[in-house]
């Protein structure tokens, strides 16, 4: 949190333009990169990724340190920094 506050303090003006790159790593280890603004909702990344992979976005789970990322969160809320990685897992279903 403190890192972020620092940023805000140092470069308020820059922040608007600034973009960060996020790595989405799937279960096979393949990485996909997304360039986003800190205030872009994560769902945009999710849907872009799902589209790219050709799977419905509901079948994917995006995890940051093992915790599900909500679609309406932003990189800033998640305190994501440049080159940070999020994991992508497939929905887990079980019955028998």
């Amino acid at each position: 949190m403190s890192d972020n506050e620092d940023k805000v303090a140092t470069g308020e003006g820059e922040e608007k333009k600034q973009t960060i790159t996020i790595r989405v790593k799937d279960q096979s280890g393949e990485e996909t990169f997304f360039k986003v603004k800190p205030h872009t909702k994560m769902e945009k990344i999710f849907s872009a990724y799902a589209q790219r992979k050709g799977v419905p976005v509901t079948a994917l789970r995006f995890l940051l340190d093992g915790t599900r990322i909500a679609a309406d969160q932003t990189p800033k809320m998640l305190e994501l920094e440049d080159q940070d990685q999020i994991d992508c897992a497939l929905e887990q279903v079980g019955g028998w």
Partner: protein
């Protein structure tokens, strides 16, 4: 019997009457009151409890539903008196002859026999209470009370030819099985799906009463709210003009166009008649027909009027202990139904809920993805695998937990491992040397000779460190799970505590496995997720004793100490109850934050789509056809003319439509749709179901001429009926390939 009298004031003669009604019996006799907007006393009346008794001097009780509507719409004298009477809660059904098939759908529960449905042809000439009135239980057969005999006997009586002619007494009760709850707070939800009887003039503004303004016209619209549990077996119809509700509905529309959906089994979909699950699809010449399981039956819909809502958020559960939230979508909610498999979201939700409500100390629930993530990276080596999940325990010290719950998903099956008493390894007050090296304490009650700390014999003996694996099918390989846990915990220890405490060898010796052999297990192939949740809940509520003997014997069934994890742990009946409980929880506003229902939007997406279609495809045709059409009934003629003159501009996609533009949106439908939509009931089935179960077939949207030709073949009363439905369905119907309601 309760009788309620309401006066319809004179001022209503010209404005909206907006009385919402529903058929009282399965075969469409009598009308049940649902809602009315003009009388404050009526606004709070529970829906579906009162029947229309009389209007003015005319009795309405035993009139066909349609006639009641006609009568109400045609009345010109105001003020007038309308009387409501509470619906009978016991009905007698008379079965004159013995038939092999009674055409009753019966469900036996513990203490009662419930009637789930009536199939045509009905074997009884009696009026059959509508299923919407409540849960129907057999109270007596030929005067023999059902409570005096058991279910088996009762059904034997029904099957016995000697019982006939037979009188069946049905009790109607409001209980958890009821499709509609007669509570005022549910009114809003149900009100939308019934017939609204409104009287209004052509303009949108309320005008002064004029004699010729009394010409009534009615539009029937069936508007269904997808999320609501159910309306009726019959098609609920709405007669409406532009009412407030509709404006609201349009307001809610997102302006994005609907796209072609992928339909797979068990997907949650919103249909014009409610939310359901896809049972299958069938390709026809007119397009894909989707079979949907709705709360009240099965429906067949054209693909265009079915919208996948799997991804639409339903509710948010905010965790209070762990950070973050769980977002439940409609797709997830559908999974709570029986025969559906649980996914990680549901587990995540309920485990978080458990943590927040039970509030157990020292319990940590791992991510459901931990095991899978680790194992998938494992082929590249343990280091790589651990690296993949290294950050997942940021801020949590696994070795301070009393119970570490690790859900395991593999091969489409859920099981759970609970690592117990890990806290023993990091506790500082007492000696823990025994975990790190083989030592023999000389004296039972003394300080440790190595670390000089006092020994906690009680803990050493009763709270053993171990892994308990609970698998409802014995489907997962226990050794694979325990190997993972030991490996993972070893790395975790090496990473975080090796330097500060001592090297630890996580092995079978330090971390033994316990597999209770005789716990209740699933008997089907869908419930493992439910079992997992139930295991964890009961385990945390009442942890079993894990003393030396138990761990040594690897069976937590030592008699007399704590809970026994054997077949008596819980009853298998808990499992369906757990599903029910979950279904309740996800809809409980005190537990979750319910989000706006998508039903209207999906509904309106169709609307918009339709207007677009109409604008482009039929704009020219409409003007030509409307007059042709109107020659059919003079009543219609006046209506349509009003309407056509009333179309000032194209309906826009704008979500904020004024009631004016709304008007225009509806009118094309009424004038145009019936033609296009009604298809001759060539289908053998359709004749049988046309009356109360309606099939609206609008497949040939792209070939309106064809439809018109077909329509002329229809019997006039059928066409009238369908016309009404279609008019009502308005937005839905154009896009509907077909709707069958069973």
């Amino acid at each position: 019997m309760e009788l309620i009298e309401i006066e319809i004031p004179a001022c209503k003669a010209n404005s909206l009457l907006k009385l919402r009604l529903h058929e009282a019996t399965e075969d469409g006799i009598g009308a049940v009151f649902v809602k009315c907007d003009f009388e404050s006393r009526l606004k709070r009346l529970p829906p579906f409890r009162y029947q229309l008794y009389s209007f003015g001097n005319e009795s309405l009780v035993s009139l066909p539903f349609q006639e009641i509507l006609d009568k109400l719409a045609a009345t010109k004298t105001f003020p007038n008196m309308i009387r409501l009477i509470s619906c009978p809660l016991a009905w007698n059904l008379y079965f004159p002859k013995h038939k092999k098939k009674l055409n009753l759908k019966i469900e036996r529960s513990n203490d009662a026999v419930q009637i789930q449905g009536y199939e045509k042809p009905y074997r009884t000439p009696s009026q059959i209470p509508n299923l919407i009135l409540g849960s129907q239980y057999i109270a007596a057969v030929n005067g023999i009370l059902a409570c005096d005999i058991n279910n088996q006997k009762l059904i034997a009586l029904l099957k016995d030819p000697n019982s006939y002619p037979l009188t069946l007494r049905i009790d109607i009760k409001q209980d958890e099985n009821s499709k509609v709850l007669q509570r005022p707070q549910f009114l809003l939800r149900y009100s939308e799906k019934c017939v609204i009887l409104s009287k209004r003039r052509t303009g949108t503004q309320v005008q002064l009463p004029q004699p010729n303004a009394m010409k009534k016209r009615k539009q029937v619209t069936s508007q269904e709210v997808p999320t609501t549990p159910a309306t009726s077996i019959e098609n609920p119809i709405e007669i409406l003009d532009s009412s407030d509700e509709e404006v609201k509905q349009i307001d809610l529309t997102p302006s994005k166009p609907s796209k072609v959906e992928q339909f797979t089994r068990n997907k949650a979909v919103s249909t014009p008649l409610g939310i359901g699950t896809i049972l299958g699809t069938k390709s026809t010449a007119a397009g894909k027909i989707v079979k949907v399981q709705l709360p009240f039956g099965k429906g067949y819909f054209h693909q265009l009027c079915v919208k996948g809502i799997d991804e639409i958020p339903f509710a948010i559960y905010k965790r209070s202990q762990a950070k973050g939230q769980v977002l439940l979508t409609y797709g997830d909610i559908i999974r709570l139904e029986e025969t559906q498999l649980f996914n990680d979201t549901i587990l995540d939700f309920y485990l978080s809920y458990l943590m927040d409500t039970l509030n157990p100390t020292g319990v940590y629930v791992c991510s459901t993805f931990l095991y899978g993530h680790y194992q998938r990276a494992r082929p590249e080596g343990a280091d790589k695998a651990y690296a993949a999940v290294k950050n997942w325990t940021k801020g949590i010290n696994l070795f301070e937990t009393k119970f570490l719950v690790v859900p395991v998903n593999e091969k489409g099956h859920w099981s759970v491992a609970i690592v117990c008493n890990l806290y023993q390894l990091t506790q500082k007050e007492y000696c823990r040397c025994a975990f790190f090296q083989v030592i023999k304490h000389q004296l039972p009650n003394s300080n440790c000779s190595i670390c000089q700390l006092p020994r906690n014999l009680h803990r050493e003996v009763s709270d053993r460190v171990c892994i308990m694996v609970l698998d409802s099918l014995k489907c997962h390989k226990t050794s694979r799970i325990t190997r993972f846990l030991r490996e993972y915990l070893q790395m975790e220890w090496d990473m975080k505590h090796k330097a500060t405490i001592a090297p630890l060898d996580v092995s079978k010796k330090t971390l033994p496995t316990i597999v209770p052999l005789k716990i209740p297990r699933q008997v089907n192939n869908v419930d493992c997720g439910v079992f997992l949740l139930h295991y964890v809940e009961l385990f945390l509520q009442n942890p079993p004793q894990l003393n030396m003997d138990v761990v040594a014997a690897r069976k937590p069934t030592t008699p007399g100490i704590g809970v026994q994890l054997d077949e008596t742990w819980f009853s298998l009946d808990d499992i369906p109850a757990k599903r029910k409980e979950l279904q309740r929880l996800v809809r409980d506003p005190s537990v979750v934050t319910l989000l706006d229902a998508p039903e209207k939007s999906s509904f309106s997406i169709n609307t918009i789509d339709m207007t677009k279609l109409e604008d482009s495809t039929f704009a020219a045709k409409r003007s030509v056809k409307t007059p042709e059409k109107t020659t059919k009934t003079s009543d219609k003629a006046t209506k349509t003319q009003d309407e056509t003159s009333n179309i000032p501009q194209k309906p826009t996609k704008s979500s904020k439509m004024t009631s004016n533009s709304l008007e225009t949106n509806i009118q094309p439908k009424t004038s145009n749709l019936p033609k296009e939509s009604i298809k001759s009931p060539r289908d053998t089935k359709s004749k049988a179901i046309l009356k109360s179960n309606i099939k609206v077939n609008l497949d040939e949207l792209s070939m309106p001429e064809n439809n018109q030709a077909k329509q002329s073949k229809l019997a006039p009363e059928l066409s009238q009926e369908l016309e009404n439905i279609v008019a009502v369905n308005g937005p839905v119907s154009v896009n509907n390939g077909s709707i069958w309601i069973f």
